[in-house]
Symmetry: C2
Subunit: 299 residues, 2 copies
């Protein structure tokens, strides 16, 4: 099983395909790096690239992406719905296989320091890689965006970067570099039209109102389907597994006389998280992804 | 996601390591083929090699293994506890990823025909690749072993091979070539000391006594742990998924007032089978292994 670090840089360009292509090409130019996905959003004028590599080449890929963005994107000319402060706006590293979150924090620091030094771009460490508590939350780091930060960084000590110059780069702005666990987007749809039920259950399970750690949850109405939904982001499945979240919602729904219609996994989910759910169902005490046939084959 | 066919040849040599090494080397010599496991059993005087490849190179690997076994193993000198009729005794092909059982049957036929033609070894097609109903069961094909088949093949029409000469090879015997789905070894342990409960539930769920298709089940006593066990082989998880088997046993156990202690997966399990269990638990209608992050990375 190869060591795999995922990197998900967000670039402030979602309209000019030739620019995004050149940035992606620069990432792909690193041997061993594999680009999994590129999503351009013209309304946000922003692109999200997902690539993977090992502990070394993922750093080189990220740096080359940062360098290409600095050459090709001028934030003074950038408009879009999504808040942004840099040509390469955010750069999170995510542990997938054979690597820990702690190691991803180290990787983020190495790349952040290099971007600051070689590209003269101020770098803010965020999420698990934050060096100051208020920088765990990206919104705090990006407050005021490119235009606001350009002023604030000069005089407001709380806005001084973790690496690099105390001034934004004139065209490439500033970059937030971080580390986080893989995110699982998980929804549970309920056989009820009562939005209050979904909102109430969401409040019960989410971390911010005293529920389970690493769970973000909101209640929504699915008008077309005459159902309501508890929509969640699970930000660390090793702390709060999907099975535990599902069981908690099931219990809360039952207590309200409401049935679960279905669960939904949106996008991708790590193999270990799937194995955990299967093990819970089958009451298996020791079942790991190393028992998955394909993992042996690909390893 | 690369196309992956698994091949699990059984060779009639489990004592002379240098012989097994040379056979494995000949399989490994095919570019793109990957040997996952080699198990030598001195009592059975037999080795089981597990390797994978794509639709083409898996055939070449299997043929080279057959050729090496023909050169290195003399059945006239072979003794062991396990029944056998060939130097390469059995050669099953198993669909893992991006390939169907039907395609594995085609592969088995191509390799079988080539072994017969180029190595002058009679070949019997078995399991899903059987051309005659009674050859689905390997025991029927191997009846009398090398020594018995040597006589029977000459005069008994029911023992004529599917490919190759109507006489066993003087030193390499005959080979059974087949195709089957991946096997899942799944046990459920029950909080009871009553062996009759386990035997009774095994009978309820297994195919041979009118239970679920592709389920083989026996009841055992786990003396050391004061429990009983329903021990199963699931021979096609796409027909009878693990989750369905577990739920059936749960129902039968409940009806007898017995609790399930735990489940056990012995050895490896295909990714799709794990995803199915997870989807069942989370009540997800459409969850496939293509949503597993690592599958995207390795693909």
């Amino acid at each position: 099983m190869p060591v795999t670090v995922e990197c998900v840089p967000n670039f402030s360009e979602g309209r000019r395909k030739e620019v995004v292509d050149r940035i992606v090409f620069s990432i792909r130019s690193v041997p061993g790096v594999k680009v999994l996905d590129v999503e351009m959003d013209p309304d946000h004028n922003r692109s999200v690239v997902t690539f993977v590599g090992n502990k070394e080449n993922v750093q080189e890929g990220a740096f080359r992406g940062a360098r290409a963005a600095r050459e090709l994107i001028d934030l003074n000319k950038h408009k879009g719905q999504h808040p942004r402060m840099g040509a390469l706006d955010v750069l999170p590293f995510v542990p997938i296989t054979g690597v820990t979150l702690t190691e991803c924090i180290e990787i983020a620091n190495k790349v952040g320091a290099r971007i600051a030094k070689e590209l003269k771009i101020p770098v803010y460490m965020y999420e698990a890689a934050a060096k100051k508590p208020d920088r765990k939350n990206l919104e705090n780091v990006r407050r005021g965006e490119f235009e606001g930060l350009r002023e604030a960084i000069l005089k407001d000590e709380s806005r001084f970067p973790d690496y690099g110059p105390r001034m934004v780069h004139p065209t490439a702005g500033a970059t937030a570099v971080g580390a986080r666990m893989p995110l699982i987007a998980f929804n549970v749809n309920l056989k009820s039209k009562d939005l209050a039920v979904a909102k109430d259950i969401a409040k019960k399970v989410r971390a911010s109102s005293g529920g389970m750690p690493n769970v973000k949850a909101l209640g929504f109405s699915l008008e077309n389907r005459s159902m309501v939904q508890v929509s969640m982001n699970l930000t660390d499945y090793t702390v709060t597994p999907v099975s535990k979240v599902f069981e908690a919602i099931q219990k809360e729904a039952e207590a309200r006389g409401v049935e679960i219609a279905e669960g939904e996994i949106i996008g991708l989910i790590p193999l270990d998280a799937v194995c955990d759910v299967a093990a819970r169902f089958l009451k298996i005490n020791s079942f790991g992804s190393n028992q998955v046939l394909e993992r042996r084959i690909w390893g």
